[in-house]
Every structure is written in structure tokens, then in C-alpha cells.
């Protein structure tokens, strides 16, 4: 087979050493009744040449954002990715290593995670960050867990403007702990709920699905006033421009890391990040890297505070996470190193400038923005006169991946069209979009 090095002679020598005739002897302890007595019903094996051809064909059946003009967002963004990242991340020493259990052979991964933790803590304005989560949504879920465990209260309150998938994951996760999840649509509602029950954590998104930011300070304040933890979910690129959640007093900041140099990958793998205040460091899920010295006094790095984790604490662990999304975090680390503070700020502000241009053009065309009294960054929603699905269908025929049909998420948002604009979109592309929208409207 493809990747098995054994020659017939090797196999024979090994069987002889074991004093058996066939490998079957090594499987004799499997109960006869359980064994599979037929071949697996799968495909014929392909050589690498055939495999390449087959998968080139499959890939060609997908429309990539390199072929179309995309205005999709919702946590994942079509951002520019510097070419250097792939060529570094693909190096076998990074790509094919396991979790850095043996620090002497893993300083590359460990040092990079240490850098990552530093960058994320800085971006979010928090004391410390861990090595990575699977994605933004499960990071929100784990933050809910942390709040339940830390406060020993049973209720999680989340904003209705949290990303849809994050909301669903919070529900799934919190239900596992027999907790209750409530959704609120405003800080007023939030205050009512907090006043009515013992709330463990308040989860807010910043900027939220409409691109809004203004409710955050009050939400954090209220959470603290009622003894709940304030959990904030943020697109990390936005934090290059926005006052970081930590400065508003957030206890936990989490988010989807894809926009930091990770490919869209149809939703994964990217990574989630998780940052906390000093008080909560030992409550964080997942791996943490710390600085230390070797016996000669040289600085190096190790996995640390492992006593929190499942392999030590087992049924008493706060989280079961073991493998995380280390390579994706490495991609983000290199991305942030390549861009630096000015580059990341440029990415975000270009996106803001362009999104505001597009929003303006659409408003002129008669599509009013959701919450138009509030400022927004580079993602926003407009009300479409008619079927968003049909509009998107029209645009697709012109090579445009239109915005997200918010009605698919909730009936309440029927007719709302969520558009994200990144630094990659040009004025020409936006004008084309606007023209096609107009044309469709006057159909």
C-alpha cells in the first residue's frame, strides 16, 4: 500500500521473529462473532496521480472567492493572506509535530504559542491568553462553562446580536451542564434579566452582527453590577481600531481567529482565541505556554499550569479540550508578525473605509441600514425590498457572492442582508454590486 514501507522480505522476517505464519495470529483475541468477515465496501485505491486528478476535479466544482467577488462575513472574512505564511507553516517541523509534550524537541511550537498568547492578550486588552480553541463558537461555549463554574450560578444570558452559530453552541454546551440560556435584545432587557435571576455570565459581541459597538460598556457594567462575568466575543481584526474589551472591564474575551491570516476553508479549520483577566488564568480551558529556564539558565518555554487540564484532573477538569488548533494559531502569529501594528490597523481601516462607501451607495439606492443611527465598522445589514435569496441569485449569475440572507437565521430578520467588506474589495467591485442591486430592484 501507498505509505507502508515493508517489502515482502521485511514482513516475512518480522513474522518469523514473532514465530507466526500470518498477521491474523495477532488478531486472534478478537471474538469471532465481532469480526468483519467481508472486505470493507469502499472505493478502489487511487495512485497519487489519479488522486491529484480526482481532487482537482472536485475542487473545480466549488466556486472560490478568488473566482467570485464575495461580500460574505459572519465571523469569516475574505481577507488578504501574505504568501510567506504558507511557506513557513508548511515546514514539516511545524506541520508534522504533535502537541509539544517534550519541550526539548518543541521549542519552535512553544515559542510561537508564547508569542501568540502575548499578541492575543494585547489585542484583547487582557492579562493572558491560552494557546487556541477549535473556533470562535466553541470558545464562547467554553467561556459560558467557565462562567457557570466560576460563579456557581446556573444562568447564561447572551445578546441576540451574537453570531448565530455561537448562540447555538452556547445553548448546546450550557444544556450539557443543565444550565439555562436566555437571550436579550438590548441592555434594558439585560438589566431586567439580571435583576430577576442569579446569572453566571453575560455574553456580548463587539462589534455585533450588525457591526454595532455602543452597547458594550453598559452590558459589562451591568454584568459586574449583578455579580456575573462579562464575556465578550470579538473579531480580532476589529480590535486593531476599537478600544479593547479588556479596557471596558471584560472578564473573558473570545473570538473567531480566522480573519488573522487563515484561509476560509469552508468554515474550518481556523481557530478560536480565549483571553482572561489575571483572576481567571487558572480557570482557562486548554493549553498554556509559560516561560522558564533550563538547567543552564537559558530561557525556554514549556506547557504550564497543566493541573487545570483533563489529562491531570480527569473528571474534575473544567474542560475536556486536548488537541486544539495550534497550526492555525501559528498562522495567525506569523500574520500578525508580518503586518505589525500599522499593517493590522491598515487592514481594519481600509475595510472600514470601503464598507462605509458601500453602505452609503446602498443607502442612496434606497436600502436602509439596520440601526442606521449607530456607527459600525466593516460589516452591516441593509433591508432589501423583496427576496434576499432572489437578489443573491441574481448577483451570483454576475459572479458576485452577495451578502448573507439573515432571514435564513431567523424569521425575525427576513429581508435583512448582511454585507461584509474587506480590504480586498475594490471600489469597482462595490460599484458593480450596487449597479446590479439597482438593476435587480428595477427588474
Amino acid at each position: 500500500m501507498r505509505y507502508i514501507p515493508h517489502t515482502d522480505a521485511d514482513r516475512q522476517a518480522m513474522l518469523e521473529a514473532l514465530n507466526i505464519d500470518s498477521v491474523d495470529a495477532l488478531f486472534s483475541d478478537i471474538p469471532e462473532a465481532a469480526r468483519l468477515h467481508r472486505p470493507l465496501r469502499l472505493f478502489e485505491p487511487l495512485s497519487e496521480m489519479e488522486l491529484q486528478q480526482e481532487f482537482f476535479g472536485l475542487a473545480a466544482k466549488n466556486l472560490s472567492v478568488d473566482q467570485a467577488v464575495s461580500f460574505l462575513g459572519g465571523g469569516f472574512y475574505d481577507r488578504f493572506i501574505p504568501a510567506a505564511i504558507a511557506q513557513l507553516v508548511e515546514r514539516g517541523e511545524f506541520l508534522t509535530a504533535y502537541t509539544p509534550y517534550q519541550p526539548e524537541l518543541s521549542q519552535g511550537t512553544l515559542a510561537a504559542i508564547f508569542e501568540f498568547q502575548t499578541m492575543i492578550a494585547g489585542l484583547s486588552g487582557m492579562y493572558a491568553a491560552q494557546a487556541s480553541m477549535y473556533d470562535g463558537a466553541s470558545a464562547v461555549g467554553e467561556a459560558a462553562f467557565l462562567a457557570l463554574a466560576h460563579t456557581r450560578r446556573p444562568v447564561i444570558v447572551m445578546s441576540s446580536t451574537l453570531l448565530p452559530d455561537s448562540q447555538q453552541v452556547v445553548r448546546t454546551y450550557v444544556s450539557a451542564r443543565h444550565g439555562e440560556v436566555l437571550t436579550v435584545s438590548s441592555v434594558q432587557e439585560l438589566e431586567q434579566v439580571l435583576a430577576s435571576r442569579p446569572v453566571a455570565g453575560v455574553i456580548w459581541q463587539y462589534p455585533d452582527v450588525w457591526g454595532h459597538v455602543q452597547s458594550l460598556p453598559r452590558a459589562v457594567e451591568l454584568a459586574h453590577q449583578y455579580g456575573a462575568l462579562a464575556v465578550v466575543s470579538s473579531d480580532p481584526v476589529a480590535l486593531a481600531l476599537l478600544r479593547p474589551p479588556g479596557e471596558f472591564g471584560a472578564d473573558v474575551v473570545v473570538g473567531e481567529g480566522q480573519p488573522l491570516g487563515n484561509h476560509l476553508n469552508y468554515g474550518g479549520p481556523a481557530f478560536g482565541y480565549f483571553a482572561v483577566t489575571e483572576a481567571l488564568v487558572r480557570k482557562m480551558p486548554g493549553r498554556l505556554v509559560g516561560q522558564t529556564l533550563d538547567h543552564q539558565g537559558r530561557r525556554g518555554f514549556v506547557l504550564t499550569l497543566q493541573a487545570r487540564e483533563q489529562h491531570i484532573r480527569r473528571e474534575k477538569a473544567t474542560s475536556n479540550i486536548c488537541s486544539n488548533h495550534s497550526l492555525n494559531a501559528l498562522q495567525a502569529t506569523i500574520y500578525m508578525a508580518l503586518l505589525g501594528p500599522s499593517g493590522l490597523r491598515e487592514v481594519a481601516s481600509l475595510s472600514v473605509n470601503k464598507a462605509h462607501y458601500l453602505a452609503g451607495q446602498l443607502e442612496e439606492a434606497g436600502l436602509s441600514r439596520m440601526g442606521s443611527e449607530e456607527p459600525f465598522l466593516y460589516e452591516f445589514a441593509v433591508k432589501v425590498p423583496g427576496s434576499v435569496a432572489q437578489l443573491n441569485q441574481h448577483l451570483l449569475s454576475k459572479g458576485i457572492l452577495g451578502g448573507y440572507d439573515m432571514g435564513r437565521w431567523s424569521d425575525q430578520w427576513e429581508g435583512y442582508w448582511q454585507l461584509a467588506v474587506t480590504e480586498k474589495r475594490t471600489k469597482g467591485e462595490m460599484d458593480m454590486l450596487v449597479n446590479e442591486v439597482k438593476r435587480w430592484m428595477s427588474r
Partner: protein, 494 residues
């Protein structure tokens, strides 16, 4: 020399990647957002040139040891060769550059990959339906346990305990607890198997299920598996299969045929997707048909003409993460499956088991094997004797580094004293196994001849043994410009 960090290369004002000027009017940020919402604190990212970054991360990579470096017999981790062609395939823009919210009609190739992978994993595991959503093994466990709970609840059963053998991986009890169950530990018997009599006594109307790895973490096949399944099922519980060790059984025996109701598989182990220094992985979950309604949403439906996502699953446990899982990993795993086919997978498992038994054979006269049985794809040694003679499992592990090998897993499973868990995988050659055995035998000799060589190992790495106690006592978790070195060992951050 200290291990370098990028912040030390930073020079104020130095630039790497720049973005173009805007082709639209500038938005005055402070005016637009309001003063309170504009970031005023410094963005503490390094300021380096592109070449600085390339050199730094190239250098860091050389401080790492990967499968591409050499033998990596890390027990329970199935460090088999990660095919390069699968990387190239996953990087195709048609897979890497598609947005999760694109219309289904624009991602038919990806949906086909995912659907066919679901079907293949169902066939391999003997299950009826598979979800690809979980991001890793532990995540699959959580998903599976939540499915079990949802199923039981739907039957009106409020069962509260999950049974876990004492040899289980830490994620098993952690998962059960995370999902709100009480965890009860089932002891192993003196053959390394689940103690069936004890199990019989432990099950009752509270039992939601049993989580089992088979072959178990000792590398041993649970011979009484059919009886175990029977006991749990008769008590009204379900059987959960931790598929971390599936590399031993493909095409030979299927969890579904052993009586398991829920299974997770680790695509980053059995199906060769690279581990990336800790992830990403993928932990699909397969279930028997009666559990199918409870799988996470969305589900792929349709036929090769047109696949699509459906959310219409009223009994679903909901979502365990955003979107659909890790498609970028799924593509690699599917390419791996396509390279092998059914017969190929069987040969994979047979060879993995042959390699483990051969290697054990080369070592067993010197290193104690706590259970004298043929193993499956990995084995556990007990270095009790070596410890008595002056070298702990950790010392032997560190000394192996000097022989150019990544050390096996140590001190797991917990049921074996001074455990060393060796998993060679099928992609390693006889020469490599012979080399490893020779190293292990030489090291065993060194224990008596020159024990300090072991205690001070490794000798040729960029760092000697690192002080983990110091790291934990005074955690330094982020880089501080002032004096990074001084922090450590003097005053902690916490």
C-alpha cells in the same frame, strides 16, 4: 542561547506587509465611532520586516521535531506519515478559499467530499450515520455523550452516571463530567481488560453508558467486549467508542459490530492528517440509526446531483461549533481514504499491529510488559525495574532524544507504574524499529554504567531539561519588554 521570540526583533517603525492606499474616501474614525470606542492603547505587535519574520519562524521551526524529522512513536497519538499530496489538495483554492455561507450550489465539490467521507467512515466503523462537525477527539466525545443523553431523555430516561475504565484517556472522564454526568471508574483486571464482574456490579438504572477504547490504552483488545456490551445494554445504557485507537482494527473488526452505539474517530490520527504541533484535528462521530435524529445540525442531504444542508432536525443536540466542522481536514482525510480503499486500510491496520508486536518482541526481555499478551497497534512497558536501578521512565525518554528519536508517551496510562507507551505505526520500516530497539537496549545498559548520562539527558538539543516547576510557580505567560529574563524565577506575574 535563549530561544528567540519575535518581540526581541522589533524596531519601532519597521514595516513588513503594507496595504495599499484607499480607493474610497477615508472615514474619520474617532468622529464616526466616538472617542470612547477608539483604541488608544498601543497594539503590542512586533515591528519587523518580512525577512525578519521569515528568518525567525524558519529558525523556530528548526527547534522543533516533527514526523518529517524522524521516528515519533508517541503512544496513543498514531504519528503516521502525513502524505504531502493531501496538503497540496487541501490548499487548492477550490477547497481553501470557499466561504462557509456560500450557497450550496457553489460548493457541490466540497459537499460531495463530505458526504462520501461520512459514508466511508460509517462503513469503516460499522455505524449508520456520521456527523463531521466535531473538531477533535475530545470534541467528538462531548458530541457523542450529548447524543446519548439526548437519546435517553427522549426515551424519558434521566440517567446520571457514565462508566469509564481506570485505563481511559483523561478526555473520557472529563467529557462525561463536562456533559453533566457523574463519572464512575471501572477497574481493570489483571489481564489489562475491563473487570467484567466489577462492571456487572456497577451498572444499574442510573447508568447512561460506558466509554471504552478498544484496543484499550494498554494496546490490548478487550476480549470480553461482547459481554461488556451486553451488560451495559441490558442495564439500559449505551456504549461509547473512543476511536483514538482505530488504527488497529480497520477492516478487521468494527465498533458497530462489537456493540458500540456511538463512535468517534480521530482523523488526525488514523487518517493521517498532520498534527500541526497540537492541532487542528477532526473528530467525526458515528451512531447507530436510532441515535441519528440527535446528531448536530446541519446535516448533508441530497444526492450526487445536488447536495444540500438541512437544519430540519427537531431532536438534534444543536451545534457543537460553528458551521460544519473542519472541512480543510476532512478533504485530507478523504484523500487518504481514496488512496487506500478498503483493502488498503486493512493492510494499514495489519501492518500497524505487526510493527507493534515486532517491536515489543525486540524489547520484552529487557523491559517489563505488565500483561503478557499479543498487543494491537501499540504497547505499554513498565519501567519499574529501570526505576529501581536508577532511571525513571522520564530519564529513558529524555535519553532517547539523544538517539534521534521523539520519546514515547510516558506515565500514561495511569494503571501502569512508570509507563512508557510505544506506538510505531505502519509507516515505519523494519530498519527504524530495529534502530529504536537497539537504542532502548543501549540505554538500558547505560542505567548501570553511567546513570548520569540519563539523568542529564538530552545532551544535544537547543535546551536542556526545562524547569517546569518554576514555570508553574511563577507563570510568565506573555512577553514583557522590560526584562523578560528577569521575570522568570524572581517574581511571577500572578
Amino acid at each position: 542561547m535563549d530561544v528567540p521570540v519575535i518581540f526581541e526583533k522589533s524596531v519601532p517603525g519597521r514595516r513588513g506587509i503594507r496595504l495599499p492606499a484607499a480607493d474610497v474616501p477615508e472615514v474619520p474614525l474617532e468622529e464616526m465611532l466616538g472617542r470612547d470606542f477608539v483604541r488608544t492603547s498601543k497594539l503590542n505587535l512586533p515591528e519587523v520586516s518580512e525577512m525578519d519574520a521569515v528568518r525567525h519562524y524558519t529558525r523556530l521551526s528548526t527547534l522543533n521535531y516533527g514526523l518529517d524529522t524522524g521516528f515519533y512513536p508517541l503512544g496513543s497519538c498514531t504519528m503516521k506519515y502525513n502524505p504531502k499530496v493531501n496538503e497540496a489538495i487541501a490548499a487548492l483554492p477550490g477547497f481553501a478559499d470557499i466561504h462557509p455561507l456560500q450557497p450550496d450550489s457553489t460548493v457541490q465539490g466540497m459537499l460531495q467530499v463530505m458526504k462520501e467521507l461520512e459514508d466511508a467512515l460509517a462503513e469503516i466503523s460499522g455505524m449508520d450515520a456520521v456527523t463531521l462537525q466535531p473538531a477533535a477527539g475530545a470534541h467528538g466525545e462531548l458530541t457523542g455523550i450529548l447524543i446519548i443523553r439526548a437519546y435517553l431523555l427522549a426515551q424519558g430516561q434521566h440517567r446520571t452516571t457514565v462508566l469509564v475504565p481506570d485505563s481511559a484517556h483523561g478526555t473520557n472522564p472529563a467529557t462525561a463530567a463536562m456533559a453533566g454526568f457523574q463519572v464512575k471508574i471501572v477497574p481493570s483486571n489483571n489481564r489489562g481488560d475491563v473487570d467484567v464482574d466489577k462492571l456487572r456490579q456497577m451498572v444499574n438504572e442510573e447508568t447512561a453508558g460506558l466509554m471504552l477504547t478498544n484496543p484499550n490504552t494498554l494496546g490490548l483488545f478487550e476480549e470480553d467486549i461482547l459481554e461488556i456490551a451486553d451488560i451495559v445494554h441490558k442495564a439500559g445504557g449505551l456504549l461509547y467508542y473512543d476511536g483514538a485507537n482505530a488504527n488497529a482494527i480497520m477492516g478487521k473488526v468494527r465498533p458497530g459490530d462489537m456493540g458500540f452505539d456511538v463512535v468517534h474517530l480521530n482523523l488526525h490520527k488514523t487518517f493521517s492528517t498532520p498534527h500541526g504541533g497540537g492541532g487542528p484535528g477532526s473528530g467525526p462521530v458515528g451512531v447507530k440509526s436510532r441515535l441519528e435524529p440527535f446528531l448536530p445540525v446541519p446535516r448533508i442531504v441530497g444526492s450526487p446531483d445536488h447536495y444540500q444542508w438541512t437544519y430540519d432536525r427537531p431532536q438534534s443536540i444543536g451545534k457543537v461549533r460553528s458551521f460544519y466542522g473542519n472541512p480543510g481536514i476532512l478533504v485530507r482525510a478523504y484523500a487518504y481514504l481514496k488512496s487506500h480503499g478498503g483493502a488498503g486500510l486493512k493492510e494499514v491496520s495489519e501492518t500497524a499491529v505487526l510493527n507493534a508486536n515486532y517491536l515489543l518482541h525486540l524489547l520484552r526481555d529487557i523491559y517489563e510488559t505488565p500483561f503478557d499478551r499479543p498487543v494491537k497497534h501499540e504497547f505499554v512497558l513498565s519501567l519499574k525495574d529501570q526505576k529501581k536501578r536508577g532511571a525513571k521512565a522520564l530519564d529513558v525518554a529524555k535519553r532517547l532524544i539523544d538517539y534521534g528519536v521523539y520519546p514515547p508517551t510516558v506515565y500514561f496510562p495511569l494503571v501502569v507504574e512508570e509507563a512508557m507507551m510505544v506506538e510505531p505505526t505502519e509507516t515505519e520500516s523494519k530498519e527504524t524499529l530495529d534502530m529504536f530497539a537497539k537504542a532502548m537496549r543501549e540505554i538500558n545498559g547505560e542505567i548501570d554504567a553511567s546513570p548520569d548520562v540519563l539523568h542529564e539527558a538530552p545532551h544535544h538539543t537547543v535546551m536542556g531539561r526545562l524547569d517546569e516547576t518554576l514555570a508553574a510557580r511563577h507563570p510568565v505567560l506573555t512577553y514583557c519588554q522590560e526584562d523578560s529574563r528577569a521575570q522568570t524565577g524572581q517574581e511571577g506575574h500572578i
